[in-house]
């Protein structure tokens, strides 16, 4: 019923929480926003809708990974390389 989806949602939440530790504005801020985002949808029962929301969450994971990479890359480039003329 909702059970296989329940594990999906919990998995998504845990993954996002783990990623949030490195969030620039702080892990606590991220956790707050994450929790309220999930709580907002807690009454959704339609499996299709849930799958869509989970897919959106996976997309957010990819965006966060890209954000972290770009931050690090730009910081390293600024510190170790001459600016392009």
């Amino acid at each position: 019923m909702a059970n296989p989806l329940k594990t999906e949602v919990i998995r998504l939440y845990k993954n996002l929480l783990y990623l949030g530790r490195e969030y620039p504005q702080g892990a606590a801020y991220f956790r707050q926003r994450l929790k309220s985002a999930f709580m907002k949808n807690k009454d959704v029962t339609d499996p299709e809708k849930i799958k869509q929301l989970v897919a959106r969450g996976d997309h957010v994971i990819k965006e966060l990974e890209a954000l972290y990479f770009l931050r690090k890359y730009r910081a390293m480039k600024k510190r170790y390389y001459e600016p392009e003329k």
Partner: protein
Amino acid sequence: MSGRVLVGVKRVIDYAVKIRVKPDNTGVVTDGVKHSMNPFCEIAVEEAVKLKEKKLIKEVVAVSCGPQQSQETIRTALAMGADRGIHVDVSGKDYENLGPLQVSKILAALAKQEDAQLILLGKQAIDDDCNQTGQMTAALLDWPQGTFASEVSLEGDKINLVREIDGGLEHIKINTPAVITADLRLNTPRYATLPNIMKAKKKKIATVKPADLGVDLTSRLEVLKVEEPPQRQAGMKVETVEDLVVKLKEAGRV
């Protein structure tokens, strides 16, 4: 050829943390400060894992030298795709004196013990900025070195490498076994997500002591003092070009 690659990873203070010097000027505050894998080491791990995914090498072994916490860094490497880890246990005073010379002696001993075909390292660590470990390791092993690599490709038992140098890009071909140090543009390291970290818990990390490898850790360097860089002086605004010239003459710059 064993098809085994050794990747050195270093646990450093996270790149985004604001560094503070200890009040007694003996070093930098590390207690309670966020640590993570050196960014250039991440690039080295990514390259090793990519080579394994292309089936050009068989096994990726992540190595880190340091106290117990270095195992976290090895776990990150395992989560990125390394097969197993070796933790060289160095702590206390030995760890404070651990520098590129000691680490390269350890890596050279491990390379012989593990019959490594390739050693991949980051070009430098963001905490000490030495940029020496790769070069010293190659010298101790009498292996060719490809430093500041921005492109690596294996061709038979040789390696084609593109190096980022001041004048541009240098293309070289070196024999294996070899030491390669990774530069920023070599690749885009993958993120060690929670599922990968969980899967990596099954992978093994062996612990060895430097004495087991017959390595002497005495350092020939002594840190005398650590201090902050001079504070940036506030700038001055002037109204006209004549004022500027007067101020420059006063400061003895013209």
